[in-house]
């Protein structure tokens, strides 16, 4: 699949690892991937903050007192299914089936919106119990990390709505395919970060 350039004879000399130059005609996907890697560093530093401060309760509530694992299980399921349905939308895009693609995108968007809704509900609940971000270093790091992830999902959902309008209007054009591929990476990446959040912050936070 990726050997067009090699077949054209441009790479007669032995190549090491990168078999091609970055695709100049469309470097967007590579650029967006590098953006995601930088996002990865943001989340890594927030995870470090949580790892270091996660047991500094300042006499306040601990993880096992404030975390609702049943709600967390629902949240996790919503995000995972949303990721898969986005994948189904990409498959329909590959087939050029616009209405099915828009349908799957809508499902993915609704699931993500439900995820954000549950998270806001959880935050309000915690703040109501006196476990707001100002209570202890543990809660500050928790709200910073989970809130940053939630904001990413929120903006991803807004981006999805904008793209669905574009797709509905102009169809599956090359520009829209490129945009949707970027959003797809973003979507799956957020699911990946959530794996770290539910495993480390919540499940291990309860065990601390």
């Amino acid at each position: 699949m990726s050997t067009n350039a090699i077949a054209a004879g441009r790479h007669a000399a032995p190549t090491f690892y990168c078999r091609q130059e970055p695709p100049l005609h469309n470097g967007t996907l590579l650029g967006f991937w590098i953006y995601l890697m930088s996002d990865c560093f943001i989340f890594a530093s927030l995870f470090v903050a949580n790892a270091v401060l996660g047991s500094h309760y300042a006499g306040g509530p601990t993880g096992s007192q404030v975390f609702d694992l049943t709600g967390l299980a629902w949240n996790t399921a919503l995000l995972l299914v949303s990721s898969v349905t986005f994948g189904f939308a990409m498959l329909q895009m590959g087939r050029g089936n616009k209405s099915a693609m828009l349908g799957w995108l809508a499902v993915a968007g609704i699931l993500a919106a439900a995820f954000v809704g549950l998270e806001i509900h959880e935050f309000i609940d915690m703040i109501g119990q006196g476990a707001g971000p100002g209570r202890s270093a543990f809660l500050s790091s928790f709200f910073a990390l989970v809130g940053t992830h939630g904001l990413h999902v929120t903006f991803g959902t807004l981006w999805l709505i904008v793209l669905m309008v574009q797709l509905n209007r102009y169809g599956i054009t090359q520009e829209n395919i490129r945009r949707l591929r970027c959003l797809s990476m973003f979507w799956h990446f957020l699911d990946l970060v959530w794996v770290g959040v539910f495993s480390y912050v919540y499940l291990i936070g309860v065990l601390r």
Partner: protein, 137 residues
């Protein structure tokens, strides 16, 4: 996971972007990824919510290992990262980032864990007086 599905060619026919077809994946890769991710999610929830293992440390290690495995499942089956995407540059950027993230996470936790341990009142020589005066203040 990178079968050149005939469906993937439809949208990009007429363009010289065969390289990018790998991004779409296939139905099989999404379903495999979903099944693996679901299993790798249910096990840690079950371990923690059901108090299956008495040993807390062992539970933490298992949860962490399952999380790392699941992250790789997502990268392979959902993000379709392999040595061919974008001519290998995606993989290169990923390995670079992964190394840095491991160093940042590992080193920070290690340094601060040691600092916390060694700064505990009473662990440093000559602090016993300070320790005794704490409750009064």
């Amino acid at each position: 996971m990178n079968h050149p599905s005939p469906s993937g060619a439809a949208a990009s026919s007429g363009h010289d972007e065969g390289v990018m077809q790998a991004h779409e994946g296939s139905l099989r890769s999404y379903l495999t990824g979903f099944a693996l991710a679901a299993i790798l999610t249910i096990i840690p929830f079950w371990l923690v919510m059901g108090h299956v293992i008495e040993n807390r440390f062992a539970t933490i290690v298992i949860v962490l290992v399952l999380a790392v495995v699941q992250i790789f499942v997502h990268i392979i089956y959902f993000l379709h990262l392999d040595t061919r995407s974008e001519g290998g540059w995606n993989m290169l950027a990923f390995i670079f980032s992964a190394v840095l993230v491991v160093i940042v996470l590992g080193a920070s936790i290690w340094v601060l864990y040691n600092e916390n341990m060694n700064m505990m009142p009473g662990m440093m020589p000559g602090t016993s007086q300070h320790q005794h005066s704490m409750p009064e203040s």
